[in-house]
Structures are given as C-alpha cells and as structure tokens.
Subunit: 427 residues, 4 copies
C-alpha cells in the first residue's frame, strides 16, 4: 500500500549506534519527538511497543507478544470489554435503552475500539517509523533549517503534558464531584450502607448489580474508568503530537523554499525541491491512512460529548462544585477538541504555502519541475482526514461548531432531561 517511489538512495547513515543525537544539526527526528508521548500512553496501557527510546532509532522498535506493555493493554481492554457486556446485560434486564445509557454505551465502545486501534498502530509502528525517518531524512541534514521557535522535541512534550495536566484536573474534579454527590445522597437517604458501597451503586449500577460489591472491585472499576477516560484524551493528544511533528517538516520546507525563491538555481536543485515536497506528501498520505480511524473516532467522540455536555450545562446541579465541574469539563473538552482540529488543520494550511512562494520565483528561472510542483500544490489535497469522509481544515471547525449549535437549538426544551438523582433513594 505504501509508496515504492524513488527515495534518496543516500544510505540512511544516522541509524548508527553512537552520538546519534549530537550530529543532527536540524533538530530531532520524529522518532525522538514522539517517544515521550508513547511513554505517557504506556503508563495508561496504550501503544504497547518497546524500544522507542532505543539509540538505533526506529530499527530498535519492537512489538513483542509477551511484553509487559501488551499484557497490561490486554488487561485493561478485557476490563473495558467486561464493562460493555455488563452494561448491555443491565440494559436488557431493565428492558429499555434511553438516550443517556445509549450515550454511555457508545462511549465505552468507542474507547474499546480506540484501544484496539492503538494496539494495531503499535503493531505497525516500526514500519511506519522507518518510512517516516526515511522521508524526513533530507530535513535533518539538508539545507532546510529548523528555523525559529521552540525546538520540536520540547514543543511536542509541552503540548502533550499541558493537555494531560488539564485532563488529570478534569478527572480529579469528576471524582470529587461524584464523591460530594454521594455524600449529599447519604445525608438525604436513610441508607445503612457503607459510603463506598453507595458510591459504586450510584456511579456504576450496571456493574454492581452483577458483581457483588467489594472494595477490590471498586479499585478495579476506578482504575478502568481512569484508563478509559485517558484513552479518549490520548487519542486527541497523539494526533496533535504527530501533526506538530509533521507541521515542523512542512515549515522547514517552506522556509527553505522561501530562501531559494529569490535566488537563481539550477534545474536540478528545483527538481530536488519538488521531490522533497513529494516525499512530505507521501508521508502525510501514509500517516493519514494509518491514523484515519483514530481521527474519525476522536472527532466523533468529541462532537458527541460536546453536544451532550452542552445540552446538560444549563440544568440546575445539586452542588456548586458539580456546577463548577461541569463548566470546567465542557470548556476543557471544547478547548482540547478545537486545539486538536486547529493543529491538524495547520498541516493543510502549511501545505498550501508553497503556492505563494512559487509565485515569487522569476519567470527567467521557471522550468518544468516548478510547473509540476505548482500543479501538485494547486490540487490542495494534502490534509489529514477521517477516512476521507471529511478533511480536517479550518472550515471544518466552523462546520462542526455550526452543526453542534443547530443540534443544541433543536434539542432546547424538547427532550425531558434527567432528574436530580441524589434524591432518588432506590439507586
């Protein structure tokens, strides 16, 4: 499926053991930039691959069937799968699937699918990274400067860790809010039951109806919940990291082209420029193919939950903290989604810039390679997509916002909302 196009035959010597990092004048490789992001994921059982910090570069990557990472992944996936099954049994027993429980079900199924997708991605990661490293080779040694701004490595790290930090805050507030609501519930209801017993009966009735409550069960549930939520979060974050890395290469290309545009160059030089752009485009296409399903699920999940959260935001909440949590959660979700889309759409924006720079090249220097490059860029189809159902550009963000607003206006006052359930003493 991947291109057998002529890649620069120059041996990729930097796959050698020592001093790898030091001799790179143009910043780190994609492999190095993404390593901390993979590490972060593995803490929560995602991306079960080994060797991503290996000094041999992508050649050190391995997907081992008996690695701790894969075992950890399998455990959490089994756990989420059990929840899905228990949820289904619970729903069929109660003989109704309301909008809310349909939402919860979709959430778990999407999480499970995302987890599986990340295992598949880990399985392909070695070959992906080898191709990526080959494709970005000219930008590491060649005349393309890394340019201004934060070094790629720390840029990716900063964005990933900031998003994670806000996500942890959201997660903590989620727990605290549930804790407070349970406290309120216990005060209002004549239960003799244990605090945590009540907590899990209120938060996860579909589980505790099937498995008798036990503190150990509570811990497993809680851990699974955290991993599930993190997986959703990680999808967005991973796409951001990949796109930031790719965008840097496009910027390097554009900066290089801008420097060349005013000068006179041989046709061979221009041909090289065209081939470098082609190489980046093939890279985008290959990554889009591999990540499309994760992008599709991230976007669908984000849109669905923004709609749901917006729909619930104007309800009166039992405690002030819960109100505050809902607003924070909504704003975090919207912020994360917009940031992800914005960064991803910048791939498209960057891939159009050469058009402008090519116009500035004097007609005396014009040649067939430049003409072919102009034709190539003019087609405007270097963008990440959700399985080609939609392309992630700036105008998509507006379209998504418009759709959500329409849905909210239509739903306003139309569907009966959930009752305050702290007063419902029958769980």
């Amino acid at each position: 499926m991947i291109n057998q196009f002529p890649v620069s035959t120059k041996k990729i010597e930097f796959f050698t053991h020592n001093g790898f990092r030091k001799i790179l004048p143009n910043g780190c490789t994609a492999h190095q930039a993404l390593a901390p992001v993979i590490l972060l994921g593995q803490i929560f059982s995602i991306m079960p691959i080994t060797g991503y910090f290996h000094s041999h570069g992508p050649l050190g990557l391995k997907f081992k069937m008996k690695s701790i990472q894969l075992i950890y992944s399998s455990l959490t996936m089994t756990s989420v799968l059990s929840i899905v099954i228990m949820f289904l049994i619970h729903s069929i027993q109660r003989e109704k699937i309301g909008l809310n429980s349909a939402g919860t079900l979709i959430y778990y199924i999407v999480i499970l699918t995302t987890m599986i997708e990340f295992v598949l991605l880990a399985y392909n990661w070695r070959s992906i990274m080898i191709q990526w490293t080959e494709a970005e080779a000219p930008f590491l040694y060649g005349p393309y400067a890394t340019g201004k701004g934060v070094p790629l490595e720390s840029l990716v790290r900063r964005v990933a860790f900031t998003v994670t930090l806000f996500a942890f805050l959201e997660d903590t507030m989620n727990f605290l809010s549930a804790y407070k609501l349970n406290k309120l519930h216990i005060k209002q209801c004549p239960h003799a039951s244990d605090f945590w017993y009540s907590f899990y009966h209120r938060e996860h009735p579909h589980i505790v109806r099937l498995i008798p409550y036990h503190p150990a069960v509570g811990v497993v549930i809680e851990a699974t919940m955290r991993v599930a939520k993190f997986t959703w979060n990680y999808g967005d974050m991973f796409i951001m990291s990949v796109c930031l890395t790719l965008q840097r290469r496009l910027q390097q290309f554009n900066d290089g082209l801008e420097r060349l545009a005013g000068t006179e160059q041989s046709q061979v030089r221009w041909r090289q420029v065209r081939l470098d752009f082609l190489r980046l485009n093939e890279l985008i296409r290959m990554l889009d193919e591999k990540l499309s399903r994760i992008i599709l699920m991230s976007c669908a999940n984000d849109m669905f939950f923004i709609s749901v959260q917006l729909y619930n935001i104007f309800d009166v909440k039992p405690t002030l903290f819960t109100t505050f949590y809902y607003w924070y959660s909504l704003l975090f979700l919207m912020g994360r989604c917009v940031l992800m889309l914005y960064i991803t759409s910048s791939i498209y924006e960057e891939s159009l810039k050469p058009l402008r720079l090519l116009r500035a090249i004097p007609t005396q220097n014009w040649n067939l390679d430049l003409q072919r490059l102009v034709n190539h860029v003019s087609l405007k189809n270097s963008a990440f997509s959700g399985k080609r159902f939609f392309y992630i550009t700036r105008s998509l963000i507006l379209a998504m916002a418009g759709t959500i607003i329409t849905y909210e206006l239509v739903l306003l006052d139309q569907v009966a909302k959930d009752k305050d359930n702290t007063l419902d003493c029958n769980y």
Copy 2:
C-alpha cells in the same frame, strides 16, 4: 449520445465462439461478472433480458418482447400497479393521507418506477455491454494485470449473495413479526374470523377492502410484497456489482501505471496510457448516464426509510420479536446503504489515484500526453451521480448521515406516533 472516440482498432477477436473464457489471462469480462447478478434478479422478475450466459459475449444478449422474463416482469409490474391504485382509492375513501400512508405510497411508486427503469435498462443492456466490452478490452489482454485479491467473478458473486442472504433473513423476520402480531391480535380481540383473513385485513387493508379475501389473493399479495421488497434491495445490489466491476478496471489501470511510473517509456506508450484512462472515463460517464435514475431512486428510498425506521425505533413494540426485527431491519438497511455508497464512492477514489502516481514520473520523461492526463485527472469529475444532482463520494455519506441526524432530532417528540394497533379490534 455515446462517444465515437477512436477505440483501439484491434479487432475484438474475443467475441468468438470457442474457448472464450480460457484465453483471458486477466480475469473475466464485465459481461461474465454480472451474469449471475442478472440471473438472481430474474428470479424476482427484474432485468428481463436473455442470453446473458451466452458464449458469444454481449453479442448474444437479446431483449425479446415475448420472452418468459418480460412476461413475468409485466405480471409483477401490473400487480404492484394494482396495489398503488387500490391504495390511492382506499386513501381517498378514508379522506385523509397521513404521513405513514404517504410513506407507503411513496414506497410502492418508487418500486414501480425502479421496475420500469430495470426494464428500460434491460432494453439497452445489449448496447451497454457491447460498449463496455470494447472499453475494457485493453485490460483483458494488455499489460494490465488483474492484480491481487479475490477474482472479480467471485467477488461480485460473494457480495451479491451475501446481501441477498441478509435481505431474505430480513424478509422472513418481517413475515414472522407480522404473523406474531396477528396472533396477539386474535387473542386480544373477539374476532371469529380466520387467521389469514385477519392477517391480510391487518397488513393490507387497502387491498382487502376492495377485493374480497380469498387464500389465492393472499398468495398473490404475499408474492408481490416479496418481489417489491427484493426490487428495492436489488437496486442497491446491482449498483454495487457494477461498481465493483468498474473499480477493478480502475485498479488494474492504477497498478499498471504504478509499474510504469519508475521506468522510462516512449511517448507512444504514455499516449496509450492516457487513452486507456480516457476510455475508462468514457465508460464511467456512459454507465453513470444509464444508471443515474436507478441510483437516484435507490438513494432517495434508502434515506427516506432509514429516517422512518430510526423515527420508529424507540417506540415500545408489542412483542420482543418485533423489537428485535425492527433493530435488525434498521441495521441491515443502514449497512446495505452505507456499503452501496462506499463501493460506489470508491470509483471516485480510484479515479484520483493516478494523480499521485503521475507525480512520481521523473521530469526527464515528462511529455504533453502526461500533462494532458494530469489535467484530466485533476478535474476530479469521474464519479457516479444521482442525475448529477449529487456525486457519490465519501463526503456525501457524511452529508447524508448529518441530514438524517438533523431530521431525527427535529422530529424527536414532535409528531404524534402511531398507536400500537394490535389492540385496535376494528382493523
């Protein structure tokens, strides 16, 4: 209306009597691939053409006025037409056309139109297949390999039969559900009437009010119902089969181009490549013109019934089997519709691939024919369409899904739904 473009003057020798199938190194012709699909249709009176298994290829096809196929078709069309007329009379007598009966009426009218369209298609099928066979000739003998994957013949057969199987299951469940509802009705109502008498009064009141009930009438009604439903199903399936066959040719072209891209070729060779692509495009255009109305009706019918089914899905059903049937029916309908759109949109996706492959051709080998080919592909207008009102691409699928969701949200809780009519003892 059809192109008089220079087709390869090489005599189409494979229209000869013997050993036709064996000497084809690159798989079967479209004529052969579609023959089982036509046979399947004819069982249910659709596509009244003869000679589709004839060893002379498309030259053996005949549309005979006195064939059994056409007589069978005429009978079923008359039968559906009678139902439409009886339905209209029934509606006018009751002096109201509600949303539901409007839906039923639209269903029968679309079915009838589809049947007529297929007769017209059968009438034109000989000339269509002759052009098709000419257009695909270079892909049967020439240097274009059939490539990897399932052979075309069995691919088409598998897809068609799988869809049909699921359709039969749906049909059976439909009957069983109606049967069970009638049983429930008889138990609850003090009717002295016969089981089947009650069945047809409940299911087809517009007919049994006008024609006194008789078991023979029941059989005819039932047969017509099955044929009607199959016709709808067959529309989607036929489009899929045609598109799979076309897509294979485009894949062969792309595979061939990929093999050539890295090599040095004479301008004459590239000219041939351009003419082969042109030929495929003319074929797509011709088939689009002939099938557009069937596509338009299939899409409209699918969208309309997905909306209706979704709207009814959350209602409480009298029996569990009916609930199960509704869910299966909805999922089958959505699955079939998405599959049809996905396969059809792959024509568009495949027709864009040459762009990417052409970029890889070295500038030294560039020539006017390649430039014209790039210009041609860049226009991005090789796609199947619904009478050019819409083009079937991946983004159309998203647009249709978005439209259906909007409609459902708007209708939610807004319109009074049908009552459970098993309790209505006045039929």
Copy 3:
C-alpha cells in the same frame, strides 16, 4: 461594463430588410425566438418594448416613453403599488403583522420589484439584443449545425405556452375556489350583503376597508391580481426561454466541436473555436448580469411560496375543490420551479461538455489555443446566478429541496395555523 472584445469584424449583413429569415440555414436568431415570449408578456403589461417582430432584427427594437406598452405597464404598477400601500395602512391600523400578512406583503413587493426590473430590462433590451445577435452570428451562418431536435423557435414557444396554460388553469381554479368558499360563507353567515361585496371583503379586506366597494373596484382588483400572478409566473418563464435559446447555441458549439475532435485542423481553425467559445461565455456573463436580479427574485419567491404552500397542504380545507386546488397549485409551483432551475442549470452542464470533447483530440494536433480553451473550461464558471450569491447548477436544486424539507420538519406542529375563516362572519 460590457466587453469590447474583438468581435468578428465580418459585417453583420443579416440586419438587412428582406428575406431575412429565409437565408438562415441554422435556425432562427435569439431575437426571433424570444419575440413571442415578449408578446405574451405584453398582454399582461410586462416588457414594454416595441419592434420585437421588426424585420430589421434587434436594430428595430425601441423603448418609447409614450408607447401603449409603457402606459399599460405604468398603470398596472401603480395599481400594485396602491395595493401595497393599502395593505401597509391596513396592517398598521390593526396593529399587528402576523406571519401570513407578512407573506402577502412580501409577495406584492416582490411582484412590484419584478415589474420594475422588467421595465428596466425593456429599457436595456435593444443593446442586449444587439450584443446577443453579434455573439451568436457564427452559429447562424458558420459550420455549426442546428442539430437534431425541435427547431429553437417552436421549442421556446411550446415551453412558454405550456407553462402559461398550466398557470391559467391554476389562476382559474384559484378564482373558483375563492368563489366556492364565499358561497359557503354566505350560506353559513346571516349577511344581507351582495355576493361580490362579500367576496371582496373576504379576499381583499385591506382594500375594501379603505375604498368603499363598487363593482368597478372589484374588476380593477381582479385584473391587478391576475397581472400580479402572471408577473411572477412570467419571471420563471422568461428565464426558461432565455436559457433554452442560450443552451441551443452551446449545443451547436459542442456538436461542432465533436465533429472537429477526430479530424486534423489548422491552428487557425482551433483558434476560431476558442474564440467562439469565448464569445458564448461573454454572452452568458452579460445575460447573467442583466437577468441576475430577476433570477434572484424568482428563486426567492418560488422557495418562499413552496414552503408556505407545503406548510398549509395538510390542513383540512372547507371544500373538496379547495383541497384539490391546493394540491394542483403546489404541484404546479414545484414543477415550474424545478423546470426553471433544471433548464437554467443545463447552461452550466453544457458549458462543461467541451472538456470531454477536447480530451479526445489527438496529442499531435494539440496546440496553445486548445490548451487555453481547456484551462478556460476547467474553471467551471459559466453558469447563471442570483447576483452571484448562488450559481444555478444541478446540485443547487438538491440544496434548495433539502432546505425546504428541513424548514417544513422544523415548522411541523410548531406554529398555530390559520383557522377556517368561512365560519368567521366578521370578515
């Protein structure tokens, strides 16, 4: 504003007195084709121009300030203006503007604006027709055959008269329905008043409140109503006629190009082909500029009234004839609107066809003029538009239908509808 492009310097000799029509081998001029349509309009006071049947061709056209046509136009415009003013006074006196009266007001204002637009068009008609005749000159004498099908003259006449016939039927049924409703009203209410007195009080309360009723007033009102409705109808019909005429020229061009495509031609010949296409494009652009406002108003009016009629169609009507009238009126309106859009969009469709034909030209014959022609057609912007807010293409029809359906679903059951006012004896 109009192009000063090099038009063929060959003297336009066919503006001569005698035998004008006979020497044209390729059918009639646009001037001749549109003359009957203008005559039809003038019966209802629209397009106040003289000399449109003059044998000198467009040079005989005149917009005279003292012609009967203009006086007639001024009278009907004054009449409609008075109705608008009386309607406004009536609304302010009753101190409310409901949705329905807003609709009526918009209707009259659009009619008045359309009338004014047609006077302006008549004022410019001479210069428009002179340009048009110059632009179409190569298609009257040159090698472009009129091709198959109905001669242009009778095609335009047939379409125009058929639409008018259906419009008259609609108008008659409208009157009869109002007549019947008034009869019912008189039977049910203890009025001592005259039949026609009651009729006008019921149909045009805003007028009869301000001007005391008198049979002469009734006649004037009735005449104005007919002219107003015809004006709306005429807008659509005029656009159709213009587009049919233009489309014929594009067809002639495409047929000519198809004949040339396979042959070898000198560059001078291809240059002429390019200039002919350019000429047709300039003509489309010029006509679009002149007719854009009429198109915009026609589309807006059609969409608005289709929505209103659809919204009212499911109400119970007091008499069966009224029910029948509403359905006929709705179907006529939808049919007319779709026909107008379909014919107009065929300009766009025809203007794309050269792309396909140009591909078939062998590369040996390729030259700069053909390349420029391909570039020109590839831009796909020869279409009629509503002031460039929208372009009339096939997909626009779908978009309009989708918008209307959404509006209807949203409005379903939402807004209180008008009561049956035959029972309201207070007028």
Copy 4:
C-alpha cells in the same frame, strides 16, 4: 511573516515633504483615504495612533505610549472591563446565567476584545501602512488610471459617515426608547425614587447594585455604553473602508489590464503586469492576516445580534416608539452587516476578473508570464477571511442568511421569552 518579495526598486519619492498630494495623478493613497476614518474612531477612543494626517505619509505615523489617544483608549477599556466584572459578580450572586444575560456578557467581552484588537492594530499600523504604500505605488504613478466614479477619498468618507450617521440615529433612539420605558415604569410603580435613579436601576442593574447610584456614575455609564456600541459599529465600518480602498486598486489593475488586453505588448510589460497583481495579492494576504480577528469578531457579533433581535422582533412592545426602535435597529443592523460583507466580498469578485480579461489576449502574444498569471488567478484564493475559518464571498452571505433563518424557525415558539419588565416594580 511579511513578504520580502522584490518590490519595485524605484525609490518611493512621494514620501517627501511638499506638494505631496498634488503630484499624484491617480488619486490619493490608502494612507490618505483612511485618515478620516481613523479620526472618527479616535473620537470614540479607538485606534490610538498619531500622525495619520502627517504630510510625510505613513512614515509620520507613531504609536506613542503617552499620547492622549492611548490614555483615552485605556480609560474606556478599563471602564468596559469593570462592567464585565460587575456583570459577572452580579450573575454569580443571582446564581443564574440565563440566555439573555449570557448574550449581554458576550456582547461586552466581544467589545472589549475588539478594543484590544484595535490597540494592537494601531501598534502595527505604521508598518502595515508602509507596506501598503509600497505595494500600491505602481497604481499611483503608473499607467493604471483611477478610472471612473467617485474619487477614492470621498467614497470612503461618504460610506463611513453615512454608516456613522445611521448608527447615531440608532443610538439616540435606543436612549429615547429606554427613557420612555422608564417613564412608563415610574407611572405604573409606586416608587418614590428619582427618574434617573430608576433609569439606571432598570438599564444597568448589575452596576448599580455594586456602586451606589450617583449622577456622575450615570454619566460615566452612559459614555461607556456609547463608546461600546460605537466600537462594534466601527469594526464593520473600518473593514468596509479598508476593503473599499483595496477594491479600488484591484479595479485600477483590471481597467489597466483591459486596456492592454487588445494590444501587443513585450513580454517585459506582461511580466510587470503579473508582478503588479502579485503585489496586490500579497497586500490582500497581509491585510487579511492583520484584520482577520477583527473580521471574525465583527461577523460573529453581527450574526449573534441579528439572531437575537429577529427572535425578539415579533414580541409586543410596551410603547409604539419601542416597536419602531426595534424595527429600525434590526434593519440597520442587517443593512450594515450585509453592506460590510458585500463590500468585503467584492475583493474576491474583483480578484477573479483578470481571468476573463486574460482570455481575450490573442494567442500570438501569449507567454509564460501570462500563463503563470492565469494559474495564479485560477486558484481563486484572494479573499478576506475570518482567520481562514471562512472566506468572505457572496455565497457566504447566503449561507449566513440561511443559517439565521434556520435558527429562527427552530427557536420559534420554543423558548419562553422575556416578560414585559415595565410592570415589574422590583427592578
């Protein structure tokens, strides 16, 4: 970020002291055309820049930290900021944020952001104007005639002052309506309080709850309100002025190209034409980058308030004057918004015109520069945008109108509206 493209090396001699204005044959510079608009803004504290009437042209512009303009700006910004904060405190104290107060909050935040954006714009204005003056240099001296129509200077002045006049009228009526409502309220309620005391308690409860009422406070509030409203208005007006100026240059280019199109020119001359177009495009791009955020906020604000006003328009108002004010306000708002979008979209329309003119150039004179120019214009991407989320073209206007209509229809009768609050004597 800004282009280092080869600007005409000819020294920009017109930055000299004397007789600057007189020697310009082609009308005034952008700097001169916009000066009165900046002056108008400064009366209301916007665009704190000095030297915009300086005879040295843009070189005389200065952004001084200690200028009166900046101090004035800071004061009004602080004032608006206080209102935002007081509004927030007020909302939290009342423990609810309804749709209406959310609307008011959004209004003040957008105003504040717009103010800040204009300070940032003022900060960059000197460099923007220097680039602009350089880019438009060929159009001031060169062979590009200013063409017909109103001189640029007075055109900008007329549009700006007309819009301002209507805005003042709106503002005055707003005040008078509030005044009358307060009078009515005092008559109906047994308050002993002062007229103005009551006025401010009714109009700005969030302020007067926190700061005890004092006439001086009233004056400050009133002044801040006027400035806030003017800022919103000024955003639209400023965009219009900039676009009118730019559009004139594009018109000059097109007029010049039209004059050249028929003639034979050296390749050097055509190259110059291409570079002039490139220069204008770079200018559009640069201005779009600088103004994008202001455009985004203006469009969002306009759309939001048109929706809100439309939603409220059919309510019964306590006084006739208030009804009249609401209609005037709505029509003014819609008119201003459409005018702004129409003028802005004309940049896009003008930038496409060269396509048509280039087609008319004879093939004999064709050369690579013309081909590159055609390719450049064909990409159709010279348009102002809202941060590239949307591009301002004619079809955007239609899309916005369609969206607003959908929203209104959805909201119709759905949300409980505000009560007439003149009868609520508890403020």
